[in-house]
């Protein structure tokens, strides 16, 4: 099959950037979207041009490193998948496919389609852990955790940190990402000791990183590859209110 890619090219953080067109032939429906870009890059090398910079690693939807806007949607036309899980069979021969990086001030563009998501790491740094040193653990079955509690924690813990929730949000809010991590730990007995501190410090960091506020449009949960529900954000708000009174 043949498609026209319209791809955002930007040399560096200070470059203005522009969309460039690439007509690509010889693609097959079995190719993943990223394999189609790999193919395009090989063609660019043979034409003596610089390759397009984009991110990926595991290519099985779990590392969270890939992620671009495809035809105006985070991770492409389907709900709840990653860019690497998108295949060319989702497009038609002759289609035009517009590819852009995540666009939000908190994820500045590094080059072409690659953005800097280190703001997420800095939110994690503020308390997404249990403060306990290696070697101090009690017997695992001494902490009984009912299946529903563990399953609920797992639902939130599944976040892959790709940033699609922020990228698709009109406010560039990181509420879903932050809520998922806080709820994972605060739902578990192990996370109780630091629950209020964790909520306050992680949400504070989220604000100083420049992420917007959540207005509960629900756009994030549509794109989240793990299908993490926005009820997590409601739960976060309740936790924050409680923490402000009690913590």
């Amino acid at each position: 099959m043949q498609v026209t890619f319209k791809i955002w090219r930007q040399e560096g953080p200070n470059d203005k950037g522009t969309i460039r067109d690439y007509l690509v032939d010889g693609l097959s429906e079995d190719m993943s979207f990223l394999e189609a870009l790999d193919h395009l890059n090989e063609l660019l090398v043979l034409k003596n041009e610089k390759v397009i910079a984009y991110e990926y690693d595991c290519r099985e939807g779990i590392c969270g490193q890939c992620g671009v806007f495809i035809n105006g949607r985070a991770h492409g036309p389907h709900d709840n998948i990653t860019t690497c899980q998108l295949h060319m069979r989702s497009f038609n021969d002759g289609d035009t496919i517009v590819v852009e990086p995540w666009r939000t001030a908190s994820f500045p563009v590094i080059k072409d389609l690659i953005v800097d998501r280190s703001a997420f790491d800095r939110i994690i740094e503020q308390g997404a852990y249990i403060t306990a040193k290696t070697g101090t653990a009690p017997e695992a079955n001494a902490i009984l955790i009912p299946k529903e509690v563990s399953d609920n924690a797992m639902d939130a813990a599944a976040c892959i940190g790709c940033g699609a929730c922020v990228a698709t949000c009109k406010n560039s809010s990181a509420a879903l990402f932050t809520a998922a991590k806080i709820n994972h730990l605060n739902r578990l007995p192990q996370g109780k000791a630091e629950e209020h501190k964790r909520v306050k410090e992680m949400t504070y960091q989220m604000e100083i990183e420049g992420f917007g506020s959540c207005t509960f449009t629900g756009a994030c949960e549509v794109e989240c590859p793990e299908g993490i529900s926005i009820t997590n954000i409601a739960e976060l708000n309740a936790r924050l209110t409680k923490a402000n009174f009690l913590g």
Binding site: E55, K111, E125, I130, A140, K147
Partner: protein
């Protein structure tokens, strides 16, 4: 040099304790004067970096990804083993040790393997404490399932995302120590050389992947935690960025490379569907708990799976290995699949797959139970193939997966270069010639959290007396210059072929000659072919862009250059070992019904290769079995 494995004295169950009693200690005031570099941020790297920092060392941690959370430990699906005996099914440390040693076909050290089993139970305690949401019963206790090669249930899991949950725990603990300013994290940084001063590892040369700048970092000890090298086959279950460059550079600086040809082919990945494919997605081995593997009895059968009646299906694993059935170990299951596919029974569009069928399990346990156990794996299968595996069988195929081989390490996880350690998949330690499922997350974690933090002090105690290395030392100068020279050389070639072209060619040779089944003639030819490929690469590759910018093509080229050299060593090792053991199956050494023939009298050793200007010199670490008598490994 005589290889000293430094196995401690005493009974098997007392060795680790005896080691700890005698090991040197460093007081807290002195620990903060010592700095340790950790390369890699997966389970072993993040675990080591966080724990060393908790102990008081000054730690620098490097990874090539944009965040430590991306490391490929994240992709392990099925679980982690531990001898907790929670299921009351007769499990014990001894049984787990024996299963692992036998699973590895008696090609690993007894003492290492025993330690792995011994430390498995406290590791589960650790991860629960760190908030890993493992699967649980309604009453709140932990759940287990089975994995290949064992007859008890000792695998702990978090849905089909166990690796992700363990890695996120390790990453969180690492960020806790970054917050405490005890670890400095360097993401988007790739190690391109090791710096050795007076015979000791004292630092690394790193390329900043955003600016292209080469940087020097000095340390009192260097820990490599850089994972496996199965991307040498190009098509593998590994992340695209996984590479062997750090261990290869260390090898060229004097670290021996052990058992390089021991690489595991995983039986249950999604089959290749096109030439352009970049990656083979793994479907967890846990699926074999309930899924039954079969092919049509008729060759070239074109009927749909659901149209083939029961009596015309060949459940070949159940037929050949009745006592383990679908849970036969990986090497055996992969070879059995290859045998059926080669005999014309393969299924799927390219006839390169076998069926993994849940029909009977759904009938027996109900759809909801199967969804609860494997829901996300079925969803993933559907996302990639478009097929609903609740209604028709999955198609699966063998794929390059884990590297049992790696840098040779002693009981302390130190390589043959003093001060250089290798932890996790990048070393050769516990798995012998074949790794059992759910032992990989285990070994990476044990190395990083429990072993290294208890052994590194034995070396660092002496480093206290030495002068702290500085980056203006001539060895740093020299190493940086060598790196710059090779980058410039690659950029200058401006040939006619892409990096991916050469990687596809290398992958084809390696998959054909050095994967599931090997023979003398094929390996000799492969070595010649790869040497030609190497020359062709250095004459005709084209990399556009420069070295002073973010250049993903250059990153790929540098990794591939090292893979090509490593591939030659892998074939050399496979050629040297005139026996079949574990994942290493030499066609010349098999029984009439196609089972491996191991030759303990000649090959009961770990091969450890020394680099010598493009040639490889073999050293042997003889394996001594003091507590267990190696037996013929049978799963029949």
């Amino acid at each position: 040099m005589k290889l000293d494995s430094k196995i401690p004295e005493g009974k098997l169950e007392e060795k680790w304790r005896n080691y700890q009693i005698k090991s040197q200690l460093i007081n807290p005031a002195n620990k903060k004067k010592l700095n340790v570099i950790v390369v890699g941020s997966g389970l072993s790297g993040a675990g080591a970096a966080a724990t060393l920092a908790e102990l008081g060392y000054d730690v620098q941690c490097f990874c090539y990804q944009d965040s430590a959370r991306r490391a490929h430990s994240v992709a392990a699906q099925g679980g982690i083993n531990a001898a907790k005996n929670y299921q009351h099914d007769g499990d014990s440390v001894w049984r787990m040790f024996y299963d692992t040693l036998k699973g590895g076909d008696f090609r690993s050290r007894e003492a290492n393997t025993y330690r792995l089993a011994e430390l498995s139970a406290p590791l589960i305690d650790h991860y629960v404490q760190q908030g890993v949401p493992f699967a649980r019963e309604y009453g709140g206790v932990l759940v287990n399932r089975s994995f290949g090669g064992v007859q008890v249930q000792r695998t702990f899991y978090a849905r089909g995302q166990t690796g992700q949950q363990l890695l996120l725990a390790a990453y969180s603990q690492l960020y806790k120590m970054i917050h405490a300013k005890k670890v400095t994290m360097f993401p988007r940084s790739e190690m391109l050389d090791l710096v050795v001063i007076n015979g000791k590892a004292k630092g690394i040369i790193v390329r900043d992947l955003v600016t292209g700048e080469l940087k020097r970092y000095a340390a009192d000890a260097v820990v490599l935690a850089t994972g496996g090298y199965s991307r040498v086959f190009r098509l593998s279950t590994l992340a695209i960025g996984c590479n062997g460059s750090a261990i290869w550079k260390a090898h060229k600086k004097g670290a021996y490379f052990a058992a390089p040809s021991f690489t595991q082919i995983h039986p249950t990945a999604l089959p290749q569907s096109s030439e352009a494919q970049s990656k083979l997605t793994l479907m967890s081995e846990s699926l074999r708990n309930d899924g039954r593997i079969w092919v049509p009895k008729k060759q070239e059968d074109t009927r749909k799976a659901n149209d083939i009646p029961e009596e015309e299906r060949d459940y070949y694993l159940e037929r050949r290995y009745p006592s383990f059935g679908n849970l036969a170990p990986r090497d055996i299951a992969s070879r059995a699949a290859k045998e059926r596919i080669d005999a014309g029974h393969g299924v799927g569009r390219l006839k390169n797959a076998v069926y993994l069928d849940f029909k009977d399990a759904i009938a027996k346990f109900g759809l909801e139970t199967i969804k609860d156990r494997y829901g996300n794996l079925f969803t993933m299968y559907k996302k990639i193939t478009g097929i609903d595996a609740y209604k028709e069988p999955m198609q699966i195929s063998p794929a390059a997966h884990f590297s049992m081989g790696g840098l040779w390490v002693d009981y302390e996880l130190m390589t043959t270069i003093p001060g250089l350690y290798a932890v996790g998949e990048c070393n050769f330690s516990d798995h012998g010639a074949n790794r059992l499922g759910a032992n990989s997350l285990l070994q990476a974690s044990i190395d990083g959290y429990f072993v290294l933090p208890n052994t590194i002090n034995n070396y660092l105690a002496s480093a206290l007396k030495e002068e702290h290395p500085t980056t203006d030392h001539p060895e740093f100068e020299k190493a940086e210059k060598e790196v710059k020279t090779s980058i410039d050389a690659i950029l200058k070639i401006n040939g006619t072929k892409t990096v991916d072209h050469f990687h596809r060619e290398l992958g084809k040779v390696m998959w054909q000659e050095c994967a599931m089944s090997r023979n003398k003639k094929g390996l000799e030819k492969a070595i010649e072919d790869i040497q030609i490929l190497r020359d062709d690469f250095w004459n005709d590759v084209r990399v556009t862009g420069s070295g002073d910018e973010l250049n993903t093509e250059l990153e790929k080229a540098l990794r591939l250059a090292d893979f090509i050299e490593l591939a030659i060593l892998m074939c050399t090792d496979a050629l040297e070992r005139d026996e079949s053991c574990g994942a290493h199956f030499r066609e010349e050494f098999q029984t009439e019904d196609g089972e491996a023939v191991r030759k303990d009298e000649d090959y009961s050793y770990v091969s450890a290769w020394e680099y010598d200007n493009g040639n490889f010199k073999l050293h042997k670490e003889e394996l001594e079995f003091e507590f267990v008598k190696p037996s013929v490994r049978s799963y029949k």
